[in-house]
Symmetry: C2
Subunit: 418 residues, 2 copies
Amino acid sequence: MEKPAQNTDAQNGQVQEATKASSDGSVCGYDSLHQLLSENLKPHLFQEVNRILLGLNRGKALETISLPESAKALSSGHNFDLQASCFLADKELLREPRIVRVGLIQNSIALPTTAHFLDQKRAIFEKLRPIIDAAGAAGVNVLCLQEAWTMPFAFCTREKRWCEFAEPVDGESTRFLQDFARMYNMVIISPILERDVNHGETLWNTAVVIGNNGNIIGKHRKNHIPRVGDFNESTYYMEGNTGHPVFETAYGKIAVNICYGRHHPLNWLAFGLNGAEIVFNPSATVGELSEPMWPIEARNAAIANSYFVGSINRVGTEVFPNPFTSGDGKPEHADFGHFYGSSHFSAPDASCTPSLSRHRDGLLISDMDLNLCRQIKDKWGFRMTARYELYADLLAQYLKPDFEPQVISDPLLHKKSP
Amino acid sequence: MEKPAQNTDAQNGQVQEATKASSDGSVCGYDSLHQLLSENLKPHLFQEVNRILLGLNRGKALETISLPESAKALSSGHNFDLQASCFLADKELLREPRIVRVGLIQNSIALPTTAHFLDQKRAIFEKLRPIIDAAGAAGVNVLCLQEAWTMPFAFCTREKRWCEFAEPVDGESTRFLQDFARMYNMVIISPILERDVNHGETLWNTAVVIGNNGNIIGKHRKNHIPRVGDFNESTYYMEGNTGHPVFETAYGKIAVNICYGRHHPLNWLAFGLNGAEIVFNPSATVGELSEPMWPIEARNAAIANSYFVGSINRVGTEVFPNPFTSGDGKPEHADFGHFYGSSHFSAPDASCTPSLSRHRDGLLISDMDLNLCRQIKDKWGFRMTARYELYADLLAQYLKPDFEPQVISDPLLHKKSP
C-alpha cells in the first residue's frame, strides 16, 4: 500500500510530485483533478474553471489558512498530504461568527490483508496516530475518519471471517480515539464495523461520535445498505435502526451519512430537517463504480439542504488472500478496485474545496463559519418553498402496494405510431 | 442580443471562434467549459478530465451522431449552434432498444424589450422557426423550449405590465408549435406564462405538452416558486396545482421540472416515483446567482432517480426600459444579469453531454436509449434501498408545528466550553 509520494504544501496547495499509479481507473497518472487543471491551464483560465467547478463565484480563490510547523512536520515526516482552506461567510450584526475547524482523514490500510487481524488493526492505529496528532496540532475541532477505518474493506469477498474486526461501540478503537479527543479537546467521528453484543452479536455499520471531553455522545447506524451489482453489504449488516440523529456538540450540530446513503437525497434531507450544520459522508468506493458521481452528490446535498458536507473516501487497492468473482462474468480477482480518495468539503453556497489526492493518505482541514448555513437559508429559501406536505402525501401513497403513479397518457398514443 | 458568432460543427464539437462577451459573469471570455478545456489541455488529459466531469468512466468519448446537411445549413444560415451526441446503453435480450432523439433549444430574445409586445413575441417565433425546423430535419422526437420562451424574463422588474404576455394553454404560442409537432411528428414541450381565464385570469408558470399529432396532451404548472433575495416570482404566479404528472407520449414517459424546482430533490423524486424516463428542466437563471449549481443539480437528479434530464437555460442579457433595484443595496440597474445558457443532458449512469454555449442560441440533440433507466435501477437498486417509509413518517412529523428534531446533545456540552 505504501506509495513513494511526496507531500502537499498546505500553504499553496501545490503538489510537488504526482504519483503515477497504474490500474487506478484513470487514463493517465495524476494526483487530483484540481492539480491536473492547475498545472496545465493558464492562471486566468484555471480561475474561470474554478469559478464553475469549485463554485468560487466571485472569481476568488478559497482562502488558505496557515498551519503550525508541527503539523507540517508530521505531514512530511509521515508521508501524508496536508491541505487546508477556509470557507467565507458574511459578517452578521446580531451573531458572532461561529468558525469551526474541521478535519477529514483518508488513508490506505497499513499491512497486507494476510497479516494477523490484530496486527492489521494496530498498524492502522499507528499509521493514523501522527495524522490525528497533526489535526490536533492544527487545532481541528471536529475530525472524521473514513468508513470502517479499522480494517480493510473486505465485504467484496463475502467471507465471514472479516466479521472478527467488529467491535462494540466502547471497544478498542473508540478507546484509542477517546484519548485523542481529550488531549486535543476535539470531537471525533469514528466509523467502524460495530458488534452489538446486547442484541445477539448483531453487526452494524456504525459511526461512533466522541465528544471533545472523550465521552461517547452517541452512535449512528448506516441507513442504506448497498446491493450494487453483486456487491451486497447486507451479507454483513442490515439497515440501521437509529433514524437520522443530529449530534449537538461543542462545535455545532453534526450528523453522519454513511457511504451509500449519499445516493439517497431523502437521507441527506432528513439530517437537514433535524438541524445538521455539518454532515460527514465517510465512504469506501472505487473508481469504476462511482468516481463521476463523487463530485456531484455531496455538493448537491450541501446546496439542497443548506449545510456543509465533509466527504471521505479511502485510498489504494486492497488485495485479499482468496480470489473471488463479482457477478459480472469476468474472471476471479483478488481486489475490489482502486479506492480513489478525493476527500473534500462542500458548502451550502455551492462552493467546495479542492480534493485530496486519488492515491495518498491525507488530512484535509477547512475552517467554516456555521453562520453560512442560516445565511443561505435566508437568501435561497429552500425550506420555505419546499411544499413538504405534497411529498409527505405522495410518499404515503407510494408505500401502498396498489399505488397508481400520476400518468397522463396521450389519447392518440395508439392511433398513429411514430 | 445578436452576437457575431460562428457556429459549432455538430460532428466534432469544435467551436471555431469563441465569442468574447463582456459582463457575462466569467473572468475571461470563453464559450463553454468543455470548449475551454478541450482547447487548453492535451488530449490525454482532456480525456481524463472528461472521465470525471462528463462521467465517461470507460475513458470513451460520447459518440457523436451525424445530422443531415439540411439541419447544418439551418444552423450556419441562422447563427445558432448545433451539437449532437449519443448516450450508450447495454443491449438487452428481452427488450429492443428504445432509442429516442431528444432536443433542447436555448435562445436569447429577438427584439429590445422596448418593442411592442406583439412584435417581441412574433420576433421570437420567427427566430425559433429555423431552429425548430433544424430539429425536425434532424429527426428529433421530443423537443423542449426554454422557460417562458415567448417573452423576456421580466419578473425581476416587478412591473405588472409584462403579464400581458400570458396566454391560455391553447393560445397563439401553442398553435404555433402544434403545426411543427404535426409536421415533424414530434412531441414539443412549451413552457409559457399561462393565463387561466376559467379561474378568474389566474397566471401560472406552465409547461404545455404537445403530442406528436399536434394535440395538447396536458400541462404542468411550476411547483416551487423562487423567492431568492428580493427576486420573488410569486408577484406574478403562485405554486402549481398540477402535482407531478408524467406524460406518456409516443416516445416515452416525460415530465417537466420547471426552473427553481431543480433545487428541490423531492420535486425530482416525485417525477421519478411517477415513472418519468426523461425530465426536462427549462430554466432562466443568471451567472452570479446559480452558475456553480448548474452542473450539479441536474446530474444529481439523473443519478438519484435513474432517469435522463434535459437542462435548458436562456442566453444573453435582457435590458428593461425602467431601472430597478434588487434589494441588495446596490444602485438601480436595468438587467437581471447574464443568462449563461449551458444547456445539457444528464444520464442515469452519471454521464452527461458537453453544454451548449454560454452566449449563443443553440440546439442540443442527444440520442438516448430509455432502456438505460431500468438497467441502472437493476444495477444500483436505489428504489429498493430507499426506505421510503422512514421518510413518509419523518415528513408527516415535520409538518406538525410542534415537530421536535432528532437531536442527541452532548451531556457535557455546558460543563467545559471549548
